[in-house]
Symmetry: C2
């Protein structure tokens, strides 16, 4: 394989990982979510703390977030852009996060997501994840109503 | 070179890029900052908008941010973690951003930074950049006082 076909294969492998991870999150399957994380993952989530270091700390945070959301999970990244090398890759895209209430009403916001991947023993793992909402410079408040 | 030495060289190249970029930002040298960006960069900044698409839109945003900061720039990323492949790489770390007033007082916050790099024609460029502050889930306010 030349370098280009290597990258096409790597990109397809990452996209498969992302789709499995999104599906696990929508299904509230925390173990399915963290199965894609490297043990030494460093995560920057949109809320609460500067960082979560290591998969155990980040799993607890996922469990706490899932517990706060009672409705059907909304977790969609319709246009994820992937840049893949042979054994390091990253992805970025907007992600619509929230929940669908029993009434059918959707409470969701667009957030930003960046992810770093590395290949270890033939398997891609998430080494870094970053979610955020931008804030308004005057009020210091997170901007939840922005549309792409 | 084997794969490992390739990665050591790539990591050193990225670190050199990061240091030049940080120095340009501290010097308010917007052209020096954007010289490291790919034309099609997609940037998620901590403030105002969901995303900035393309180097021209992002340059305007850098200029606007520089214009709002009158003191000496503080822009330090003391522990940047780099994962580098042969032609794709990413970095993440906390970054202390703010300004030093004439009185000597420092107005700065810790933010989170993630960056994606790709090598094109032998040169590394920033293809993606993400800065943010986490927000408090109860108040919706950005958390500027967090310490690493």
């Amino acid at each position: 394989m030349n370098a280009n076909s290597f990258h096409v294969v790597a990109e397809a492998e990452i996209r498969e990982l992302v789709n499995a991870w999104l599906k696990a999150a929508r299904n509230r399957d925390v173990e399915g979510v963290v199965a894609h994380y490297a043990p030494d993952i460093v995560a920057y989530d949109a809320v609460s703390q500067l960082q979560f270091i290591g998969v155990d700390a980040y799993r607890k945070h996922w469990e706490a977030c899932m517990a706060m959301c009672s409705g059907e999970m909304i977790f969609d990244a319709p246009e994820l852009h992937i840049t893949a090398g042979a054994d390091a890759a990253f992805a970025h895209g907007l992600i619509r996060c929230g929940e669908k209430m029993e009434s059918g009403e959707e409470k969701a916001s667009w957030m930003r997501m960046s992810v770093g991947y590395r290949k270890h023993d033939g398997k891609w793992l998430v080494a870094h994840e970053h979610f955020s909402a931008p804030f308004d410079m005057e009020t210091g408040k997170a901007l939840f109503e922005l549309q792409p």
